[in-house]
Amino acid sequence: MKKTVAMLLCGAMTMALLVGCGSSSAETTQTAAEQTEETTEATEETTEETTEATTEETEAAEEANPEADRTTFVVGFDAEYPPYGYMDDNGEYTGFDLELAQAVCDMEGWELTKTPIDWDSKDMELNSGSIDCIWNGFTINGREDDYTWSDPYCDNSQVIVVAEDSGINTLADLAGKNVGVQTASAALSVLSDEEQQKALADTFGSLQQFSDYNSAFSELLAGSLDAIAIDIGVANYQISSRGEGYVILSETLNSEQYGVGFKLGNESLRDIVNADLKKLAEDGTVAELAEKYDISDLICLK
């Protein structure tokens, strides 16, 4: 028995490694899930049976009445991603996306639970059901098949931020330079996609990955980094709160859209949120919030 537990643990770790390090594609997750199933089958058949039974029950319950008895709405977000989700001066989590989520909850009578997550584990958090959706400047493009998406509500483009006196004025000037990007971010996937800006990224001296933009900006300030690839909304916030010394290159890497990401197949919840977002756009709430967070130009939900 002890040995079985140990073996399970071993298998689990391999799996966690796969999921943790893999790209955020659904494929990886699926492979890992399959592997898990195999492990479970091989080691403990009884558990497998119980699991199946439970899953079936849950599924049956969901089919009967999917969202009627929902009382809470758990939003997963990266708390280091202003202005979409961050900690304000009072220690409360706030931001454009979180206030929008609050507005949806007010309409539905749900209680909003704001759960800050580690961005690298977002798929695990979503799949395991510890959060209901990812709502935090979450780029749809390139992830279309990995999540069940709401309608896009915000336009976004990936831009390059450089120090004012760096002498970098165009994307071509970045050749041989050190460029920073957030791990598992949309900017990174743009730069590593063959059909998008992979060719440009290949001209960089190095592409350095950071867990948060704060350390990336510190390195830019310190001079060990020449440029940062970043979402335009985040770039504006960082520059306005840091003051002079940074510029955004007028050439953008791409343009894309933000949406709310639900677990693949969770259409019932998605449809509710979609309908609410539409109403919020019609009654002007969205525009009001956008103005508050200075991203009016980017809103695309009409």
């Binding site: 140990a6 399970l8 689990a12 770790m13 479970t40 304000d88 001066d89 584990s121 395991s128 709160s241």
Partner: protein, 216 residues
């Protein structure tokens, strides 16, 4: 945002950090002794199982273990995770890991005791458990205290790994404030906090060591 506000916001995280620390310590110290016994068992099967356990716990990163404990129930058994499980998973992860280290420290202490003491105790009519708890263990504790202090201090710093499960301990909050305010001050506060915390730990352990050195 001024310094006082930053301190106030970090203080809620500090309480959580201290919480992880004490829960882990309180559970892993006794659990470590159990593992140490298993590891020293005369039964080959039992001892090799515990040996394997220790090698896995020491041989893989704590952060990975935390992820396995938290997400494992879903990916292995399809159990939906609830919010309250986050903290429990962190404690389980830390205890499992630290108990393995403590077990090896206990073992080093217990195995360093001369066989003569066991023989003498048997002659004097002590039972096996009496010998261990009345004669061996008090001496073992004295010997292993410096090594335990080392691990306890590491534990204080390792609490920051709870960020991987998005638990709002002090360092996670420090990073969030740093991001929102685009300043490095929270990290300075964090460094001072860990240092003072460890000063207290080191001071307390030294006091205990002094108290224990009653034969010198």
């Amino acid at each position: 945002m001024d310094f006082v506000t930053i301190l106030q916001q970090l203080s809620s995280g500090m309480i959580k950090t201290v919480g992880i620390f004490f829960w882990t310590l309180a559970l892993s110290l006794p659990f470590g002794l159990v593992i140490a016994f298993g590891r020293m068992s005369k039964n080959k099967l039992v001892s090799s199982i515990f040996k394997f356990y220790i090698s896995v716990m020491r041989g893989t990163p704590l952060m990975l273990q935390l992820l396995v404990v938290y997400f494992g129930p879903y990916y292995l058994f399809g159990i939906k995770l609830s919010q309250g499980y986050r903290f429990i998973a962190i404690i389980i992860g830390f205890v499992l890991n630290y108990a393995a280290y403590y077990a090896e420290i206990y073992r080093s202490g217990i195995e360093s005791m001369p066989v003569g003491q066991y023989e003498a105790a048997t002659q004097l009519g002590y039972s096996k458990s009496q010998t261990f708890f009345k004669i061996i263990l008090p001496q073992v504790i004295k010997r292993i205290l410096p090594a335990i202090t080392n691990e306890v201090i590491t534990l204080v710093k390792d609490t920051s790994l709870a960020f991987s499960l998005a638990y709002m301990e002090m360092f996670t909050i420090a990073k969030q404030i740093a991001a929102a305010q685009t300043t490095m001050i929270p990290f300075v506060v964090a460094a001072v906090f860990y240092y003072i915390f460890n000063l207290i730990v080191a001071f307390t352990m030294e006091r205990i060591e002094k108290k224990m050195s009653y034969y010198r």
